[in-house]
Structures are given as C-alpha cells and as structure tokens.
C-alpha cells in the first residue's frame, strides 16, 4: 500500500546512496521535481537507468551524483547534445561516468524481463553492432525450436523506480494516460516505487488511454503539481520546449551550469521551479 507523502520525505526514505534508480517517462511525464529533490538531498553514487537520459539526467550527472548510466539515447531531443553527460564521459567532470549502453529495444526489454520476473529477455537486436562487445548485459541465445541465434538482454531490476503521473486517489492508486512509455514496466521491475502526481483526487474516474498502477505496487505517492516540468503531463500542462532549447546554453558551460544549479535547485530548497 502506498503512503501519501511529502516529496522530501518520500525521496529521503526510498532513495539511498549507491542505489540503482530508474526515473522513466518517454518525453512525457518525466519526474523532474523528484530528481531535483535528489539533488537537494545530495543522494549520491547512483546508478541511473533511463532509455533517454534527457535533461533530467544531465542535471543529476552535472550535480556529481551519478557513478554509472544505463541508457539507450543520450541527447537533448530536438536540440542537440547533453553537455553535462558529454563532459562527464569525455573529461570525467565532475566525476567519471561509467556506461552500460543499449538500444531502445534492448532497454525496453530489460525492463520487461524485470517486470516479468525473468532473468533475461529475447529480441532480434544488436545484430552486427559493436555494442554487445561493450556491455556485459547483452548476450546471445539460440531458439530451441529453430536454432536461430537471437539477442538476449539481462533483466533490469532497479532499486527504485520514480515516475510522474497525472493523478492518484487517497489510497495511492495511480492513474496515468497519454504516452505512457515504459513506466509500467520500470515500476513493476523495481524493488521500490515512488510516484509524483499532479493531483490527489477522491476518485479516479476512467480515462481513455489510461493505465492504473494499484496502490499495492507503489511505495509512496507525493502530490507535486507541475512535477514533470519542463516535460509535461497530458491534460495538465504542455511541454516547455523553450526550457529544453535554453538548456543547451546553460549546460554547455560548467560555470553556467553550476550557477543554474545553485539558483534553481539548491538555492530555492523546497520550492520547485515552474
């Protein structure tokens, strides 16, 4: 059963130094507010998993909290590079960043295996690519019926999954809709689940395209309106594309990034940038 919690308490209780954390949301419903709370609490030595690290992980990497990144596409969508990610990989600033790198199909299937209680998943992937040579979570398996060789990826079972959703009821049942990405799989694969929501309501009325995570697979729900900004929550907000474009300049320079971090995340502890 999920507890309805203050974001600060929920992050402090569920996310610990050294954890493997998956903050998912494919462009939509990205849990930025929770990530900023992780930065404020200085929870560090994290292994972060996410298909598209996006600006949210650029911020966590720049803040020096990330030891390893498990991912499949590390860019600022529609804008360009993730400069903090590149600086960490290329120059080890502010600390070296280990990588476990996959394709989207591989990452998605790693979560699928994790959610399904299997040690691996099978896909027709990575064929002819150099990627398997650089990851110990990619292997091959032969079909016992046809003999065909296929790719296998190891299950990904994060210590914590963090997602943002539109709504929860007072018992902690969570409802999300629109592009729901890989969030169900990430949540079901994780040992602990933290959900931030736009609002807590008395009753979850059915919504087309909606999906429900029952309260008994969720550990904590925190009401954080706008908690996906600069990403968006369908039905509540639109994507702040200007933020994504502005991030390019902010993140390109270490000093500019540090100033941003101080002013926008650390300097205003407890308050979220809207």
């Amino acid at each position: 059963m999920a507890d309805i919690r203050d974001l600060r308490e929920a992050v402090g209780e569920l996310i610990h130094d050294g954890d493997t954390v998956a903050m998912e949301g494919f462009t939509h419903l990205i849990p930025y507010a929770a990530a900023h709370e992780v930065i404020r609490q200085g929870i560090t030595d994290l292994t972060l998993a996410r298909m598209t690290p996006d600006v949210i992980y650029d911020q966590l990497i720049g803040a020096g909290l990330v030891a390893k990144l498990v991912f499949s596409w590390g860019g600022n969508p529609g804008v360009g590079s993730l400069h903090r990610f590149r600086d960490a990989v290329e120059h080890g600033w502010p600390r070296p960043l280990a990588l476990d790198e996959h394709s989207h199909a591989g990452m998605a299937n790693r979560y699928v295996a994790g959610a399904a209680g299997l040690p691996f998943a099978v896909l027709r992937g990575y064929l002819g690519s150099d990627m398997p040579s650089r990851s110990d979570t990619i292997a091959t398996v032969n079909c016992p019926f046809t003999g065909e060789e296929l790719a296998a990826v190891a299950a990904l079972n994060p210590d914590v999954a963090v997602i943002h959703a539109q709504r929860a009821d007072r018992e902690g049942n969570v409802q999300l809709w629109g592009l729901t990405g890989v969030q169900k799989e990430a949540a079901l694969a994780a040992r602990r689940v933290l959900v931030t929501v736009e609002e807590i309501v008395d009753e979850l009325t059915p919504v087309p395209g909606g999906s429900t995570l029952p309260t008994w697979v969720v550990d904590a729900v925190a009401e954080v309106p706008g908690g996906a900004h600069p990403s968006y929550a369908a039905g509540y907000s639109t994507r702040d594309n200007a933020y994504y474009r502005a991030w390019d300049a902010v993140s390109r320079d270490r000093a500019a990034f540090t100033a941003w971090l101080d002013a926008e995340v650390l300097g205003r502890a407890g308050a979220e940038r809207r």
């Binding site: 494919f26 462009t27 590390g74 290329e90 394709s103 199909a105 896909l123 990575y126 150099d130 592009l179």
Partner: protein
C-alpha cells in the same frame, strides 16, 4: 540568375529543401513509416501532405498513425498522442510493431556512415591522447535498421559524415557486402538510399556498396566525390533530381513555418 523553366523550382529550393523533398519522395509506395525527429519528421509529414496522403506515421514514443498539424520538437510531444489512431507502450512499439515487421520504412541519421551504409552514432575517435567524442548513442536505430522493410539514411554530405571507416558500428547497414544481412538474420532489406544535400547514393545490387545515383541540379560528380570519404563510384546512369514542384515547396515551407517550437 534565370534558369530554364524546368529548373525554376530547384533554383528556388535550398540544398536542404531538396534533401527534404527527396526524402519525402522516397516514401513512395510506403504504407507505414517509423519517424524520428528532425528531417525524417519533416519528410514524412511532407509526404503525408503531398504524394502519400495515407501514410501512417509511427513515432517510437508510442503514437501509431499520428497526424500532427505542425512539426513536433520531440518525439513525445502531446499532439502526437492526441492525433494518433492508437497509442501503445514503448515495449509494445518495439516488440509488436517494429520487430513484428509491420513498418515499411525507417529513417536514420548518422554521425558517420560508411560505403556499406553502416552507421555510427556512438562515438568519434579524436586521435590518441584525446578522449573520444561522445554522441547520443543507438536509440532505436539498430532495430529500425534490422526490422523495417527498408531504410532511408539522411545525412549532410561531407567527408566528416561519409567516412572510409567507422569509429564504431552502432547500426548495421549492409555489413561488408550483399549477403551479410541474410547471414545475420536481419529481416528487412536495409538501407536503400542515402539522401544528402547534394544528391542520393544507392547500394549497387551486386556489391551493396553505395554509389552515386542522383545529383541535385547544378551539383557536379566531382563535388560529391570531394565530399565523400571513400572513392565514390557512380551508377551506370546518374540522374538529376527533379526540382520540387510548387506544391511540394509550398507545403514544405508552410510546415516548417508552423513548426513554431522548432529548434
């Protein structure tokens, strides 16, 4: 400044516009297209408004049959889901729809591309003593290239992008020859065209090596060879890109003017 009538459109069109129009035209006969952000999205939306009105746009974020009114900045913009025929989860998209063999055409970009259409989007070797330059990585590309019926590669023509040897093979095109895909069990036909701002390369059926097949109006073979990192051969018949029609150009410019949220 005036040119013969047939080339008027081409004279007006920029090299990038010719590339975009060529990419849209390359969707002829396609029912479904896996759309990435940037030029592929421009080309697919242009095709849907001109030659392929029934084209089904599929975005890896989960939107099947999206009908955006303007070009989205990201593959997960809200309008994609709002206008889609169906919205599915990301695992379902990759497993049932892409790997399931339901998508006719996939577009791929490339930081580096070799003569067999193999692609690097992972890292750039800057030489000893310097750290490799980090690129975004694979995204959906390895499986798009594996499972789409055919692949269109889109890249600006320069020796930096069209290279003699990849620093890293992220995504297999034709490997090292015409039999490699079948040997590895890749279901799709792989790259059928490399569409650039100077023209179009296509694989030689006998060798799978990319050869010059089409030149934009006014571009010489020499210029293309100088912009290619391997000794580029030409097909037996090199054609000239037909200039954009007035409708193509107007639609393209309208689309891009209404991009609004574009980079």
């Amino acid at each position: 400044m005036s040119l013969p009538h047939a080339a008027t459109g081409a004279a007006e069109a920029t090299p990038d516009e010719l590339m975009e129009v060529n990419a849209a035209r390359a969707l002829a006969g396609a029912r479904t297209c896996f759309v990435g952000i940037g030029l592929p999205s421009t080309a697919a939306n242009l095709a849907r408004r001109t030659t392929q009105p029934g084209l089904v746009l599929i975005y890896e974020s989960g939107a099947i049959g999206a009908k955006p009114t303007r070009l989205p900045l990201s593959i997960g913009d809200g309008e994609l889901a709002d206008t889609a025929d169906a919205v599915v989860s990301v695992p379902e998209m990759f497993n049932y729809w892409l790997q399931g063999g339901r998508i006719d055409v996939g577009f791929l970009g490339a930081a580096q591309l070799d003569r067999f259409g193999n692609v690097n989007t992972t890292l750039i070797d800057r030489g000893s003593g310097r750290p490799a330059g980090r690129l975004p990585g694979a995204g959906g590309a390895p499986e798009i290239a594996a499972s789409c019926g055919r692949v269109l590669l889109v890249v600006r023509h320069s020796p930096r992008h069209l290279v003699d040897r990849l620093d890293f093979v992220t995504t297999l095109g034709h490997g090292s020859g015409p039999d490699d895909r079948a040997r590895l069990g890749l279901p799709g036909r792989g790259p059928v065209a490399v569409i650039t701002d100077l023209g179009v390369l296509r694989p030689d059926p006998a060798t799978a090596e990319l050869v010059l097949a089409e030149l934009h109006p006014g571009v010489t073979e020499e210029r293309v060879r100088a912009a290619t990192g391997w000794p580029l051969r030409a097909a037996a018949h090199v054609t000239t890109t037909a200039p954009p029609t007035a409708a193509e150009l107007a639609t393209l410019r309208d689309l891009k003017s209404r991009q609004g949220e574009a980079r």
